[in-house]
């Protein structure tokens, strides 16, 4: 119950104000189609430089939590999921809004998000210290394999093609090596003076997540967007509470699936929402009502995608392996503030980490309160014209990457990486494994060098990295993540070619 001792920190004026700003800002950003939680957190990182580590993390954590929930607003009122995590919410939520039950759908969405989110954060509170103690057994060779596992898991699970996912991870690892080598001081891959200090993580994060989004907006050209926000009638909050209470099945399915998905590194909220929706439908006596504006669909999807947030930080804080792409960006935020995840995190920075985790718990409640009362406003802001959004993100990206170290070099790096990532995305590559390679690269290299030195001293070069039960388990997990993804790719290709054959037979 150590976390209770640090609850006071959340209610300090500055911390609480940042929590409020992060929550309200996150709800608006989340409700805006095209602004994913990952991008929102990446754009916010430069604002945390001038804050203390704990205040910076409170802001990022609040934004992470509320952008995921805020995405439900546009999913329900505009039928455009604000984030991939809200795809399943749109299926029944928008139908409810079309039937004049918009307020009810929004209430259910935020109440179930809050319930799922609180359970997710409680899991984070109770599981993280246990896993951190277990992580004490990890030496340099294990930490090296863990970093590689982080890249391969996200590389193989987060991409449409596992070869491209792993290639993205390799590209990220290579980008991480640019600059001066820490031990020898040798220059590595410095092709331009802007790269002398290496690739700055914040500039890279902004470029990789924000610029492709801007270019996608521009690629639509001068198109009139006629988004119609559905009217929201008044609905009693007490009735919504009763409705949540009378749907424990959907709520518990969503929360359990979301929590499990969050704990699995690299999977993310999109899968949590869709999987929970599917399972809630299977277990429901009203299967046929799903997709026609059935409240259970909204409750299952929203409780799942927010229950995922807390557990996605468990492997991040203990093993440096993020549970979702947004958690990968949050890892960048932690490192920038000098907080290195690992077994001794809770011994070195108990005040920072516990206050941060507690703020996520309080943030869930604030998210419900503000979500319910600001949803309609958020939906109006979400209708901001695409050219305004594109111009605003461009300017924010330039200012954000410049302010990292007040250097134009970071702005050039941000722009070049952004353009490159947009091209790669058009061919099925994904930004998440590249970012993870970039963040975990230095951790993998430092442990590889340290491990090599120990192995040389012991005269056991290969067996140090390849022997021992923990090394073997981690190597097995690396290979299993690649093998699983390879098999899934093959099955998917066979299914697609079978459906093409069926279609050609039919014609």
């Amino acid at each position: 119950m150590e976390f209770l001792a640090y609850f006071g920190g959340v209610f300090e004026p500055v911390a609480f104000m940042l929590l409020l700003c992060g929550t309200i800002g996150g709800l608006i950003l989340g409700a805006t189609p095209g602004l994913s939680p990952t991008m929102a957190v990446a754009l916010l990182i430069p604002f945390t430089f001038h804050l203390t580590p704990v205040h910076g993390l409170i802001l990022l954590g609040a934004a992470y939590t509320s952008t995921v929930a805020g995405g439900a607003v546009s999913a329900i009122l505009l039928k455009i999921p604000g984030a991939p995590a809200n795809i399943a919410t749109a299926l029944d939520g928008h139908e409810m809004a079309r039937q004049g039950n918009g307020a009810r759908a929004l209430h259910l969405s935020f109440l179930s998000s809050g319930a799922g989110g609180i359970i997710g954060v409680l899991l984070l509170i109770f599981l993280t210290p246990l896993l951190a103690k277990w992580a004490l057994a990890f030496g340099p060779s294990h930490l090296f394999w863990l970093a590689i596992l982080g890249v391969t898991i996200i590389g193989s699970l987060d991409s449409k093609s596992f070869v491209k996912g792993l290639l993205s991870g390799c590209l990220g690892l290579w980008l991480a090596m640019i600059g001066y080598d820490d031990i020898q001081g040798a220059q590595r891959f410095i092709f331009h003076s802007s790269l002398t200090g290496g690739i700055n993580i914040v500039a890279a994060l902004i470029g990789l997540f924000a610029i492709p989004q801007v270019i996608n907006m521009l690629a639509k050209g001068r198109k009139e967007t006629n988004l119609i926000t559905l009217a929201v009638n008044h609905q009693s909050l007490a009735a919504s509470f009763r409705e949540i209470g009378s749907n424990p099945r959907a709520l518990s399915i969503g929360t359990i699936i979301g929590s499990i998905v969050g704990l699995i590194p690299g999977v993310g909220g999109q899968i949590a929402g869709l999987l929970a929706y599917d399972q809630a439908q299977k277990f429901s006596p009203h299967k046929d009502k799903f997709g026609t504006g059935h409240p259970e669909g909204v409750i299952a999807a929203e409780s799942a995608n927010n229950a995922m947030v807390g557990p996605s930080l468990v492997p991040l804080l203990t093993l440096s392996i993020p549970g979702s792409p947004t958690a990968a960006v949050l890892l960048g935020g932690l490192l920038i503030h000098g907080i290195f995840p690992g077994s001794d995190l809770f011994d070195r920075h108990p005040d920072v980490i516990w206050t941060f985790i507690n703020s996520m718990l309080v943030g869930q409640i604030l998210m419900v309160v503000f979500g319910i009362y600001t949803a309609v406003w958020a939906a109006r802001i979400a209708k901001a014209p695409v050219p305004v959004m594109a111009a605003a993100i461009t300017v924010l990206a330039v200012f954000g990457s410049y302010s990292v170290s007040q250097s134009m070099g970071n702005v050039y790096v941000m722009f070049v990486l952004g353009i490159g990532m947009w091209v790669l995305e058009r061919f099925g590559f994904s930004a998440a494994p590249l970012v993870l390679g970039l963040i975990l690269g230095p951790i993998a290299e430092a442990n590889f060098i340290q491990g090599s030195m120990i192995a040389t001293a012991q005269g056991t070069q290969w067996s140090y990295f390849l022997g021992g039960p923990l090394n073997l388990l981690l190597i097995f997990l690396v290979l299993a993540s690649i093998g699983y993804s390879f098999r899934a790719n093959m099955l998917d290709r066979r299914r697609r070619s079978a459906s093409t054959d069926d279609r050609s037979d039919a014609t």
């Binding site: 792993l166 040798a186 891959f189 690629a219 198109k223 461009t394 702005v411 058009r426 060098i449």
Partner: protein, 153 residues
Amino acid sequence: MTAGRAQHLILSAIILLTALTVGWLSFTREPAAAFLFPRLISIAFILLAVWNFVRAALGLAKTGGGIDRTTLVNLLPGVVVMAIYILLGARNLGFYAASTITFLVLYSIYDPAPLTSVRDWLKRVAISLAFMAIIYILFALTLQVQTPRGILM
């Protein structure tokens, strides 16, 4: 060969070339100890890049829609404006002036409203100035970020 297949082939060739360059630099540069980890990574990088290239050459690389002509025509003016802003404008005109102009130009190019209407122009200018005022308050006054000063501001 379809346009999609050719594009996949070109991109995979560029990636393979990058991987080979990384491998060549890792194995030829000194001191060797500084390139130990890059060597390890470059082997995996090259193997995956070769695999990706072979798949593209055989027409098996199908993920992603590629880049079509309409997309390119639509985004080109915006990307050119962004490039001028980042590479020339910010430093020479001054950060805030260049940002305001870029915001207004990007908004105007992609705004579906007619470019001949004075009312629409006033709206665009007002939104650009309002947004830049927020940015100025955030970065210059609150965070005290020192930005390059140019001819204008």
